[in-house]
Amino acid sequence: MTGKTVSEKLLSEKSGEDVKAGEYVEASVDVMMTHDVTGPLTFEVFEDVTGDDAALSDPDSTVITIDHHAPADGVEAANNHNIVREFAAEYGAQQYEVGDGICHQVLVEEGFVDPGDLVIGADSHSTTFGGVGAFGTGVGSTDLGTAFATGDLWFRVPETLRFEVEGDLPEGVYAKDLILKFIGDVGFAGCTYMTAEYAGSAIDDLPVHERLVLSNMAIEMGGKAGILEPDERTVDFLEAQTGRNVDIPDWTQADDDAAYEAVHTYRADDLAPQVSKPSNPENAVDVGEVEGTPIDQLFVGTCTNGRYEDIRIVADIIEGEQLAPNVRMVVVPASRSVYKQMMDTGVMGTFVDAGAIVQSAGCGPCFGTHQGVLGDGDVCLATANRNFPGREGSMESSVYLASPATVGASALYGEITDPRSVDLNRYDDYVLTEGTA
């Protein structure tokens, strides 16, 4: 009898059944989330299945944000925002406004997610919550609308792919580089139907804001979830962030003899900064292979790399400098709180002085409809998570994905630049070092 993975333990706990990978369960969900794009369809399903007795199973843990078409980029989007507001008011859901931030960031900042929780979101990047030791997974609106009513959902218990990185990350290599490397190695569908577990000494050393990056992009290899086992750092982070002292449930720790689909091991020393070429995240290469590629736009933000620590790394690089000629930079903080920290620490001024555009918190051009979309032939280097054809605008545009450090260094030269050619910083979680960072 082999041991269990985090996913097997967590779904056993939440279903009350002793299950292994491949089995189907109905499990009790702790937190549910939707937003202005997937929300209206979710609400229709909820009202259809509940009929005259419509009530949310857990209004305090039902969260709705307005982040995708935010601020409204047209009348239809504005009307959808009103549908969100009306639904939240009628049923008592927790609603966040335009400018409050991206759903995944808001849920973490506002303390909705604890280690060991089962979290579903009608957004594919709901895998993000694995960064604090929760099983987060993206679902459709029918899934979510029915779960709004029942508090339960069906799951296939996933197999697990484990990624282990040992040693100290070299200069210029961040969590973003690790996840692009993983995706490049296993492929865009390499983790489909499975959970990615991340472990090893280099991963243990990561601050929470970088752990969230690894979990966030698990979906870019098809992952159902991307989980790091929570530890003391997770507890400290959540206490500083939310003022609550949380426990680490035993079902968040994998057994030593757990059965994995495969284990991929890396030595941190061997790794270089990564860039994913158009038009798929799996096209990851060492930065040297694309160095010198001319760029038109830089985009700093998203649920992947729009946190204060990410934006600060870029600001440190461009402080006192001007963007390279003929390059524009769009900065979109992941939340209002990030926006506020940018103001309080002078980072906002750094961007404005360098010639960048700083916008209100939300998904920004990663949703491809507003706030800096790309035209025909435009080339963008982004801290984002997806570079599919047309993802940030024109089908004739191209997007390269990289870490904030690579984007910051490239801003100075107007072409893809090795971040190791400039002075770089690495930050612990801002909430743990506030005042000293």
Binding site: Y24, L41, G138, T142, D143
Partner: protein
């Protein structure tokens, strides 16, 4: 949208590997949740002739990892709205597959889907897990749904299943 009968032959519309949901329904059309309206923009940028020419009862055929990327249920909904009776692919991305089952859009994993050409007439036998290619006079094995999911489909999808559970009138 019409009643789905996968045993009636329909035209196969062929798409390749890694077709993500941005390609199935681009983000600028997500301001609507109406299947018919979404259907008018299915594959809008990738294959503009699709929405114009697709007929009720046609099928979409994909390669590996069909429906990857965003969780938007608007993607399978747009195909239903366009009149598509089912999607056959060598493999599916997880959320699209799940959404298809929940919505009652037949989704069939068929490793031999690459034998199908654009424009072939095909039909599906869901219970047996068979794809019939009428143009080439061939039959391909597909994975029948696992028991739990077949139960869900038999009860009409996740909505009727949930209604029964809640006792909703």
């Amino acid at each position: 949208m019409s009643d789905i009968d996968t045993t009636e032959p329909g035209r196969a519309w062929l798409f390749g590997d890694d077709i993500d949901t941005d390609q199935i329904i681009p983000s600028r059309f997500l301001v609507s949740s109406d299947p018919e309206e979404l259907g008018e923009h299915a594959f809008n940028d990738l294959r503009p002739d699709f929405a114009e020419n697709v007929a009720d009862g046609d099928f979409v055929v994909g390669g590996e990892n069909f429906g990857s990327g965003s969780s938007r249920e608007h993607a399978p909904l747009s195909l239903l709205g366009a009149g598509v009776d089912g999607v056959v692919a060598q493999s599916f991305a997880r959320i699209f597959y799940r959404n298809g089952i929940n919505l009652g859009l037949p989704v069939l994993i068929c490793p031999a889907a690459d034998r199908i050409d654009d424009g072939d007439e095909i039909s599906l036998r869901l219970e047996e897990g068979t794809v019939v290619n009428h143009t080439r006079d061939e039959r391909y094995d597909a994975d029948p749904l696992p028991g739990f999911l077949q139960e869900l489909v038999d009860s009409g999808g996740l909505k009727p299943y949930t209604k029964a559970k809640l006792g909703t009138k």
